[in-house]
């Protein structure tokens, strides 16, 4: 090697070593906690990351932003609107690059907890906690879903829950009623098929739809305290026999009640939804947020649309009053220089008038603000769903957000394996146990 080349090589190696030596970094210095209850200064740009991209939802925040800017001409609201799928990557990229906006969307469970743990979510207890005027406008369960260690961080925007939607005309034609147990649900599939319908339409291409069935069945079979301990790798045992029973029942449902059976992983969630809306399938397990898709223009009309919670299996040892669901909401960036302004904007967004607007067509997102959801404004099914969620003895948060990502990912792969028949309930549970042990 020539001397000059040697010097250059040494310089490059030296620089690399120095760079690597400096990589064991400390957490970014946290800014002093801003006063969330301070009087806001109505100037500057307020950035908001929403999950409302696409029609018809995107116009909701656009309208609110325009109205807020009209009220406060010194404020510019910058909206970053993403979809349910894209917001996951976007949020993580913005977090990693320390560029989170002033207000950002969150799910409950481990998803929100990560931001709280990382000091990226402002403690809003002073303004939204119990006993505060703003906090009093929300349902308590919705507020508590974003509480960690007794502190309130989230602004719940809308409620959500998972229900079996059914086509009343199909049920009438098959001569069956709403099933009272999981076993009755399975038994209803043969007459429905005979009547010319796919009993339950189901698309699991993205993996998470299977987790929705599983989480509801887990809540029925496994006591809530055991479930909650099992969500955290530090305390998880995942040895309750209810898990295997629930996994087995889910597989039976897929095999006996769907037309796609072990090929369900090749079907989009939205394709399954279309089949239900086109009147070709009798049942479809769906979120309250999806109820608005049933309109007079579709084969399945609102008059023929009914809902019921996934029926409880006989002899299940968990909580029969549990419903899978959770509110979704927003966090305020603890490092934002405009925390008070962000609080003011969200107070405006969750005001009674905007809450009613959100709950009614075309948005039909059932607001967490007490009294915002009415049968007249939001439709019978949404109103009924929200009432059932409010009455639930236990809200089982989505399995893919309630636990740590490694364990959620193991559930996701396991659910797909169960559907395709390449794994057994016991093996799926073992793989999740291993992922949980590795995540400790």
């Amino acid at each position: 090697m020539r001397p000059r080349a040697l010097t250059t090589f040494a310089a490059i190696v030296g620089t690399s070593v120095l760079t690597l030596a400096g990589c064991a970094g400390e957490p970014a210095a946290k800014a002093p906690a801003a006063d969330v209850a301070a009087t806001p200064e109505f100037s500057g740009t307020l950035s908001i990351l929403t999950k409302f991209a696409g029609d018809p939802l995107s116009s909701y925040f656009e309208g609110i932003a325009a109205e807020y800017q009209r009220m406060h001409p010194g404020v510019k609201v910058e909206l970053i609107q993403e979809t349910d799928q894209s917001i996951k990557d976007k949020t993580k990229t913005l977090t990693a690059s320390d560029a989170l906006p002033d207000i950002y969307f969150t799910w409950t469970g481990n998803w929100a907890e990560n931001f709280v743990r990382g000091g990226r979510a402002a403690d809003l207890t002073k303004v939204i906690g119990p006993g505060t005027p703003w906090g009093g406008t929300f349902g308590q369960a919705a507020l508590s879903a974003f509480a960690y260690d007794g502190k309130y961080y989230g602004i719940p925007l809308y409620n959500n829950g998972k229900f079996m939607g059914y086509n009343k005309a199909a049920f009438d034609r098959a001569g069956i009623g709403v099933p009272a147990s999981f076993e009755e649900l399975l038994a209803a599939c043969a007459p429905l098929r005979k009547a010319g319908y796919e009993p339950v339409t189901f698309g699991n291409k993205d993996g998470w739809p299977a987790l929705h069935y599983l989480q509801q069945l887990f809540a029925y079979h496994v006591p809530a305290d055991v479930l909650n301990a099992d969500f955290k790798p530090g305390t998880a045992k995942l040895d309750h026999p209810g898990y295997v029973t629930a996994l087995g029942q889910f597989k039976t449902l897929v095999d006996e009640c769907t037309d796609t059976r072990d090929g369900t992983n090749g079907v989009l969630y939205s394709s399954a939804q279309e089949k239900f809306l086109n009147g070709k399938a009798a049942m479809y397990y769906q979120e309250i947020l999806e109820f608005a898709n049933v309109t007079d223009e579709r084969e399945l009309t609102p008059e023929n649309f009914g809902i019921f919670p996934l029926p409880v299996p006989q002899g299940a040892g968990g909580d029969p009053g549990a419903i899978e669901g959770a509110p979704e909401g927003y966090l305020i960036n603890a490092r934002s220089p405009r925390v008070a302004l962000a609080v003011d904007f969200m107070k405006f967004a969750t005001g009674r008038e905007n809450a009613r607007k959100l709950s009614a067509a075309p948005y039909a997102q059932p607001s967490t603000v007490v009294g915002a959801v009415t049968e007249e404004g939001s439709g019978k099914a949404v109103s009924e769903g929200v009432e059932l969620v409010n009455k639930a003895s236990y809200l089982a948060v989505w399995l893919d957000t309630v636990t740590v990502p490694e364990v959620a990912d193991a559930w996701l792969a396991g659910g797909e394996a169960l559907v395709s028949g390449s794994s057994t309930p016991e093996k799926v549970l073992e793989s999740v146990r291993q992922a949980s042990a590795a995540a400790k």
Binding site: P27, K205, D262, G263, A413
Partner: protein
């Protein structure tokens, strides 16, 4: 003195490009390696130096190895179809006497390559759809209903279905490049072979194949390299499922970082991927130098 000024000026001219390449190509490479030695919590921002632990974890990760296997399978099938298959097809097209037909056939085979991989992936997703997709309908219509299945929903067929789409999409491009290479072969060589009584197959084996070896080598390497960079089609069609059966290194990297929050581990996968593609790129340079055909 003038030489020094000229050299300095020359350096000054290339400096902006060097800076850009350094900042946007080499710095991220160094940073990626740096990230791969960390356990990084993006939420708190804490970064813990873990040395080569993330690389050791790769050795015990079954999904990493199955992803690597899928990339290899992709490469093998692509070599068969997009290199040797495309070469045979190009030779057949170039043997057609009518210039108009030759042009038409080249265009017909090239059209799929003009479609973006994402669009092609979506197109094939609907083609493979188990209940509404035309593929299953076609199979049932011709009495092969027992073969109808959820092509992308079964672990046994999903990867093959993705690879098949990819071959359809890339086949025409390789064919066109081989057609160009075949056109460069002087007609006298074929004429001489014909006079010596060599048949069409013999002409392909003894004339065409040796004289396009530079292009064959290049295409083989480009194809293998492309097989290790697969991402779009898998993300669109299966996102790595079901049960991680269609993960390739690119998608497993993405899933490790953006779904499992394991960014250090994702960076380690990226480094391995870089080393593989760098090796292939160096081989490509060597092949293009050593296999050049002169006439």
């Amino acid at each position: 003195m003038r030489a020094i000024v000229r050299r300095t000026l020359g350096l000054a001219w290339v400096l902006p490009a060097l800076v850009l390449v350094g900042v946007f190509v080499y710095l991220p490479l160094v940073q990626n390696f740096q990230f791969s030695t960390l356990e990084w919590d993006i939420y708190s921002g804490s970064q813990e130096y873990v040395g080569l632990d993330n690389y050791r974890r790769l050795l015990d990760d079954p999904v990493f190895w199955s992803s690597f296997g899928n990339n290899l399978l992709y490469a093998v099938v692509s070599i068969a179809f997009q290199v040797f298959g495309a070469l045979v097809l190009a030779a057949l097209i170039e043997s057609v006497r009518s210039e108009r037909w030759r042009r038409s056939l080249r265009a017909v085979y090239f059209i799929p390559s003009a479609i973006s991989l994402t669009v092609a992936g979506l197109l094939f997703y609907f083609l493979y759809e188990p209940s509404l997709g035309p593929l299953n309908h076609l199979l049932r219509a011709v009495g092969l209903g027992e073969l109808a299945q959820a092509w992308l929903g079964q672990e046994s067929t999903a990867m093959s279905a993705i690879i098949a789409m990819s071959q359809w999409q890339g086949f025409g491009y390789s064919t066109l490049l081989f057609a160009v290479a075949i056109q460069r072969i002087p007609g006298e060589v074929y004429g001489a072979a014909a006079i010596d009584g060599v048949g069409p197959v013999g002409r392909f084996v003894h004339v065409t194949f040796p004289l396009v070896r530079e292009m064959t080598g290049l295409m083989a390497i480009v194809t293998v390299s492309g097989s290790f960079q697969v991402f779009n089609e898998v993300m669109v069609m299966t996102a790595g499922g079901p049960n991680n059966s269609t993960q390739v290194l690119g998608t497993w990297l993405y899933r490790s970082g953006f779904v499992r929050n394991d960014f250090g581990y994702a960076a380690a996968i990226a480094t391995v991927l870089f080393v593989i593609t760098l090796g292939i790129a160096l081989a490509q340079l060597w092949v293009t130098r050593s296999r050049r055909v002169e006439w």
